[in-house]
């Protein structure tokens, strides 16, 4: 499964904002953190604002803040504002009305169901846990490499 660039930027933005819902982040800060286009990210943030997932704060020191419950908002809740999620319009595919097309459609539907269930069950809070776990593992890796490079005699 490949997600579009805007969707990826939206997920980065929401995950960054959900890191500390009390804090405001500017689009520039988020763009710099992920090395992505600030212009493109601003458009994405406007969509997230219309979806009620982030709040735009105006004035000096303004920026964006996460709105919602990190333990309830899922990846699917974010993605669906940017692209259809594993939704196959099977009736329009060539040959989809043949027995072969219908059988193939059932298999693809099964895969799509799993994709939707997965994205719909992973909350932002769970993602933050995975991110923290990755950070800890990445921090431990150099020490492991050093230990392997110079074994204790």
């Amino acid at each position: 499964m490949k997600i579009q660039k805007a969707t990826r930027f939206a997920l980065y933005a929401v995950l960054e904002l959900a890191r500390d819902p009390e804090r405001q982040f500017s689009a520039g800060e988020i763009a710099e953190r992920f090395e992505i286009s600030g212009h493109h990210l601003s458009k994405v943030l406007r969509t997230l604002g219309r979806a009620g997932l982030v709040e735009a704060l105006r004035g000096a020191g303004g920026g964006y803040r996460f709105r919602g419950n990190r333990k309830r908002v899922t990846l699917l809740d974010v993605i669906q504002h940017f692209e259809p999620v594993a939704s196959r319009d099977g009736a329009r595919e060539p040959g989809s009305r043949t027995p072969e097309g219908r059988a193939l459609g059932r298999v693809i539907d099964e895969i799509d169901d799993i994709a939707r269930a997965t994205l719909g069950s992973i909350t932002l809070a769970t993602m933050r846990k995975l991110i923290d776990q990755d950070r800890r593992e990445a921090a431990a890796r150099p020490a492991e490499r050093r230990a392997r490079a110079s074994p204790v005699e």
């Binding site: 309830r72 899922t74 269930a117 719909g120 909350t123 769970t126 846990k129």
Partner: protein, 156 residues
């Protein structure tokens, strides 16, 4: 064995093994979620899992002395080649007691017992539509494993 809540001291609840007398509580908690009162089923589960049988665990969470949740699991071994692992097949927390860390404490309590039983893997199976419970298990760090559930309708 009592499992006292030490990680979140602001949330006063305890976890203890279930007893036969918990039947009505368990039926009510389950009915609140599923809409079905399965008295015979839960009576059977309590008889099989709440009697201190080895590797079978039926735990009740109490908040201020009132049962507000439960979890049931057991150690299963060698199903389609799977080495012994912990299996959770029921969890329920009263609506009013959710988002308080109680489900996490129940999960950790049963995992502690699985560890003491010598297993190093815990598994479960959830309906794809049950987003709340699936999100909960995901939040505990559970991911898709090496097994896939398959089924087929059986014509009479």
């Amino acid at each position: 064995m009592e499992h006292r809540n030490t990680e979140m001291p602001g949330v006063p609840f305890d976890i203890r093994p279930a007893r036969a007398a918990d039947l009505q509580t368990v039926v009510s908690l389950d009915e609140e979620t599923t809409g079905i009162a399965k008295v015979a089923y839960w009576k059977d589960r309590l008889e099989r899992y709440a009697g201190g049988q080895p590797d079978r665990y039926f735990l009740i969470a109490e908040k201020e002395g009132r049962p507000v949740g439960f979890i049931v699991g057991e150690v299963r071994a060698w199903e389609f080649g799977s080495p012994p692992s912990g299996w959770i097949f029921a969890i329920n927390v009263n609506r009013g007691a959710r988002q308080d860390g109680l489900g996490t404490q129940l999960f950790e309590a049963v995992c502690d017992r699985f560890r003491r039983s010598g297993v190093r893997q815990v598994r479960t199976m959830i309906a794809k539509e049950d987003k709340l419970v699936m999100s909960f298990f995901r939040s505990q760090g559970m991911m898709a494993g090496p097994f896939v559930e398959l089924e087929k309708g059986l014509a009479p």
